[in-house]
């Protein structure tokens, strides 16, 4: 944990804590986005099934849906009073609402299209001859994917991962509805900033907003660099 070295330089300790929590949430979400999103993007690119547009639309929905819709459905779904929330309680012993795990699940759903769409574009940009050559040399489909296809698409994949990470940092509406604002557990940066404004602590809100602005800007510059490189 970073907590012991959390300082009160520039921001108060609770704000540093919420920033660290946000980075942790974005980091774990990004890892899962890679593990789920890359095979999904590859499948969507390759599949001939007529259900592909339906799956593609489902993955893209979070771009269009208001976060309040996702938050509302998750709040209902996480409720320990009925399935699927009650199944989760039966298996793990605890509910999903107001927990870090619940936020990770919400963030993966919420940020999925922001990662999968760049993944699809990056994988599509790799010349099929190279894939075919690998397959012809006897490599399995998955070995080809992990050892040939993915390394060749790495810049675009990096852009997708960075965008997924950055988008999770900006999450607000969904967390507001299912988080319960628990310090160190679900009180992420955007919620902490909202609370500072509510408390009329504009000075600390300014400092915190500035920190978030700089982090987001640096991440987007990274996305732009990676996307240029993948086009080159």
């Amino acid at each position: 944990m970073l907590s012991p070295i959390i300082s009160t330089w520039l921001l108060s300790a609770p704000l540093w804590e919420s920033l660290w929590l946000t980075l942790k949430l974005a980091g774990i979400t990004t890892i899962i986005l890679g593990l789920v999103g890359l095979p999904l993007a590859r499948w969507l690119n390759a599949t001939q099934t007529r259900f592909a547009p339906v799956v593609e639309a489902l993955v893209t929905l979070p771009i269009v849906l208001p976060p309040t819709v996702i938050g509302f459905y998750l709040l209902v779904a996480f409720s320990p009073q009925h399935p699927p929330g009650s199944w989760w309680v039966a298996v793990t012993g605890g509910p999903l609402s107001f927990t870090f795990t619940g936020l990770v699940i919400a963030s993966v759903i919420y940020s999925l299209p922001f990662a999968v769409q760049p993944f699809q574009a990056a994988l599509r940009a790799v010349p099929t001859e190279l894939i075919d050559a690998s397959r012809a040399s006897g490599a399995t489909v998955w070995r080809t994917f992990w050892r040939v296809h993915l390394p060749l698409a790495r810049s675009g994949v990096g852009a997708g991962l960075t965008l997924g990470f950055a988008h999770t940092l900006g999450e607000f509406g969904v967390v507001l509805m299912i988080g319960g604002s628990l310090p160190g557990e679900t009180k992420v940066a955007s919620i902490a900033l909202y609370d500072e404004v509510q408390k009329l602590n504009y000075a600390s809100a300014h400092a915190f907003a500035g920190v978030l602005l700089v982090i987001s800007f640096v991440l987007l510059v990274a996305v732009a660099v990676l996307q240029r490189r993948s086009r080159a």
Binding site: L75, Q81, P95, F98, S181, V197, Q198, L200
Partner: protein, 249 residues
């Protein structure tokens, strides 16, 4: 075609009527817990004063304050406490002499604890997994709850099981959706909802949870705004407020 024409004539007629009747317009910024009572209050007021048009915006009071300080065109603020209006007086955005307490909120534990059991016992018991409380730093009902539980000597024990609602309406929603077992909410939120099970009124005393009303410095209809503030303290408004789970001074 005739249907459409009739519709168009009616619509135009309504516009003409409303513009000729309403000579002044006041915009009210109101705290979230007033969401149920504002509609009937506005209806009653405009029935009496047909020359005035009322519109209302609901948000957490802290957000409303930020908006007012940055030029939002509100005439009147109805807050869930007296601290927020005070902050506006200090920053020069509201008129101190117009501040008044128009209602007192009533805190409610929802749902009602099992018959024959004290709420203190139920909340301290092992059966409680999650208790929903509004954010005490920003929501007056949350602060009242924290003070209540602290005075009962239960705060430190219960705090690890508390989830924080952004406002008192969300606090109710956490319980209603089954994600929390109990919540401390505003009685006003339950008043219009007959499908909700009953709650238990928590006695905090006559002076608890004062709701302040104040005219804002930016008001472009100060006369109408003053009229509305005075009307809020009259008999008609008081009856509506009581019916919706408030106490009146």
């Amino acid at each position: 075609m005739t249907g459409w024409r009739k519709f168009a004539v009616t619509a135009l007629g309504c516009c003409a009527l409303s513009t000729s009747a309403a000579t002044e317009k006041i915009r009210v910024a109101a705290a979230s817990n007033l969401v149920m009572v504002m509609e009937p209050l506005m209806r009653a007021f405009t029935a009496e004063h047909t020359q005035i048009e009322l519109s209302v915006s609901h948000a957490a009071t802290g957000n409303l304050i930020a908006q007012i300080r940055h030029g939002a065109p509100f005439d009147v603020l109805l807050a869930a406490d007296l601290d927020y209006p005070q902050a506006l007086i200090e920053s020069g955005h509201a008129e101190e002499q117009t501040l008044r307490t128009f209602a007192h909120g009533v805190l409610m534990l929802w749902p009602q604890p099992p018959v024959g059991q004290k709420w203190q016992t139920v909340l301290a018991g092992p059966g409680l997994r999650r208790l929903a409380v509004a954010n005490p730093d920003t929501a007056p009902y949350g602060k009242a709850t924290k003070d209540l539980l602290t005075a009962a000597g239960l705060w430190d024990q219960i705090k690890p099981r508390v989830v924080w609602g952004e406002n008192v309406a969300q606090t109710l929603q956490f319980v209603h959706s089954g994600n929390a077992d109990f919540g401390f909410v505003a009685a006003s939120l339950l008043s219009g909802n007959h499908d909700l099970r009953a709650g238990m009124i928590i006695e905090l005393g006559e002076e608890a949870l004062p709701h302040g009303a104040i005219r804002l410095g930016a008001s472009r209809s100060p006369g109408a705004a003053k009229l509305f503030l005075d009307w809020l303290e009259g008999a008609a408004a008081r009856i509506i407020l009581i019916e919706h789970g408030y106490r009146v001074p």
